[in-house]
Symmetry: C2
Subunit: 109 residues, 2 copies
DNA sequence: TTTATATATCCATTAATTAGATATAATGTT
DNA sequence: AACATTATATCTAATTAATGGATATATAAA
C-alpha cells in the first residue's frame, strides 16, 4: 500500500519539468532545456528516460497528427505529463522545502 | 570566465536544501531528511557529499563550541550554506521553472 | 566498561550518465 | 533519383554516483 517510487534522476526531473505546462515532442524538450540554460542532455539520454517515465506512469505519449505541411521531417511523438508526474514534481519541491524548515524536537542546549 | 559548475547530484541537492535556512551538524541533516519524508540517505553518503560540497564552496563547516553538558557524545561539526550554495539552489529552481515555461520561437503550424 | 552520539573512511555492487555511433522513417529540395 | 533535414530509437563503452555493510576513532554519560 505504500506509494510508488516517485523519485527522479536529475535528467528525468528536468525532462518532466519541461512537460509540466505544455505537451512537447522529444527534440522540443531538448530545446527547452538548452535554451533555459540547463546542461545539455543528448537524445541518447532523452529517449530512454522518456521510456522510463512513461513506464512509471509519469507521462503519456501520442503520435502527432499535424498536417504534412506543418513541418518537414519525420512524425513527432508528443509527450504530456500525467497527474502522477505532476505529483512527483510536487513531492520533490515539498521535500526541499521541508528539509530546509525542519527543526529538531529536542534542541541540544 | 564561465560560471563554476553548480550542478548537484540528488543527494547533494537535498543535503544543501537542509542547510538553506539553518546551520546543522551531520546527523541533524539526516534527521531533517528522514523526518521530511525523503528517502533515507546513509552517513556513508552524507560525509563524502559534505566534503564535496565544501570543496566546491557551497557550504562551510566549523566545529561546535557547545558546552559539554549540552549533549552527550562526540563533538559536532556544524555546516552552513554559502552564498554560492544558495545560488546553486536558485539556479536549479530557475531551470525547472524555465524549461516548463519556454515556448519555441517558430511554432510548427 | 558499556552505551550513545558523532565524524569519517573503505569496499563491492548497482545504477545513472555520457559520448559516440548507427538505424530507420518521413518530408521537402535539388 | 539523390540529398538534406527533422525526428525517433537503440547500442556500446567509459565514467560517475549511489548503496549497503563494515570498520575506526572520539567524546561523554551511566
Amino acid at each position: 500500500m505504500s506509494e510508488p517510487d516517485l523519485r527522479l534522476t536529475p535528467n528525468q526531473e528536468v525532462i518532466l519539468a519541461a512537460l509540466r505546462l505544455h505537451r512537447r515532442y522529444g527534440l522540443e524538450i531538448l530545446a527547452a532545456i538548452e535554451k533555459s540554460g540547463g546542461k545539455q542532455i543528448g537524445f541518447n539520454s532523452l529517449y530512454p528516460n522518456l521510456k522510463k517515465l512513461e513506464k512509471k506512469g509519469l507521462i503519456q505519449s501520442e503520435w502527432g497528427d499535424e498536417p504534412p505541411e506543418s513541418h518537414s521531417g519525420a512524425r513527432r511523438k508528443y509527450y504530456r505529463i500525467t497527474a502522477i508526474g505532476t505529483r512527483a514534481l510536487e513531492v520533490k519541491q515539498q521535500l526541499l522545502a521541508g528539509v530546509a524548515a525542519w527543526i529538531p524536537e529536542t534542541e541540544g542546549v
